[in-house]
Symmetry: C7
Subunit: 80 residues, 7 copies
């Protein structure tokens, strides 16, 4: 799953991802879309409700409950 950043996003479509934002929040969901600005669309993972994952830094990832567009300039990192 290596390659250029947008290639990795392309390869991650329909897979669960963890999106870490500059405001400290971390979202968990299925990657439904993206664009060249790293704006992303994530959707709830079917069968997963209120899932809270342990993040690497001891922060919690919030499982999103609605289709959510995240503007790319808020993104710190995306774990594919």
């Amino acid at each position: 799953m290596s390659g250029r950043p947008l290639d990795v996003l392309e390869a991650s479509l329909e897979d669960p991802v963890t999106v870490h934002l500059k405001d400290g929040t971390t979202y968990y969901g299925v990657l439904a879309g993206y664009d060249q600005h790293m704006n992303v669309v994530i959707e709830p993972e079917s069968g997963v409700n209120d899932r809270v994952d342990d993040d690497l830094d001891g922060e919690f990832a919030v499982a999103i409950e609605d289709t959510t567009i995240i503007r790319g300039d808020n993104v710190v990192s995306i774990k594919a």
Copy 2:
């Protein structure tokens, strides 16, 4: 309702959306327009006055009362 971010916005026209801003405020209204910078126009939902929704993060979403343009660089996320 999946796809690239602007496709999701296009599909959400005339639907209620929740717009979360960098300053911590969250607006609720009907998506009336958008552009490629993710500038958005939201309008009051007819029949909804002073509605206050519980947001996922325990924040409150303020139902907008006037046609409002939000400049895209303030946007963190949009729930479609």
Copy 3:
């Protein structure tokens, strides 16, 4: 008054608008001009002196007293 953000600004020319800035200040005046960066020009509303409006968030809108150019990157939202 729906449509794309710049269309809404175009339709609002010569109408009073409320401009909310990132520094927390809110200006009230007549929209005299704008450009594609959402730089705007607002002018005093004739017959309105020192008007102070209640803003949705409990903040006060300051009625501008001179023709004022506001640089777009300071704008959070514009109520048309």
Copy 4:
């Protein structure tokens, strides 16, 4: 003196302007030049020394004493 933002600046050349910056300072001087980024050049007003104006927000405007270039990304607003 209405119109698009850069038209208002063009019309204000050689007129005194008040430039309010993001760091809270406000400068007063004669508009000597500008460009499309809203970078501006202001010059001392002849006959005005150390003038301190009351600004709308209770802040003081400092009369500039030397030809000064202000980089546009610092500008909040310009009163023409």
Copy 5:
């Protein structure tokens, strides 16, 4: 390993790198990809689990555990 910044990234592909971010965190992993915005993809180094390196500034570098895309505008420096 000198040269222009993107040439150094190209030469560092498949090598371990330390990426220092604006939020103070530092990640350690193998450089799997990059683009012209300095968006980077780093992957876990095989055989390295939970490695914590001493950083030059006394900060700790966290060995990443999943393929991670880091958006370039968060990057302060990359040690190749």
Copy 6:
């Protein structure tokens, strides 16, 4: 010395300038070069050592001691 911002910089080449930065520091030196981003090069003024000028705002201007490139996005203002 009026005109568009870059014209004023062009006219100021080889003249002493005071450069005020967003981090509050102010540098004094001879303008040796600039570009369209308002990146500037300043050099020590011959015969001036450790000169400390009173700045308009009561801040001190530090006379630079080495040829120094200042990246334009840090610049608030340049006094020509």
Copy 7:
């Protein structure tokens, strides 16, 4: 060593430089490369270990120990 900012960087290749960043850190090393965004590559100076220079502002410059890419938008100034 005067001229436009990128000309000064070009002339400084293979020379020691001091790079002052927005987060307050200052790095010392040999300039190995740069690009038009003022992204720079610095390398350890041979024979210099753990050198700590007094910076003009009383800050310390850290001699880098590995080839380091610094993203240009973090740079305040570069002393050539």
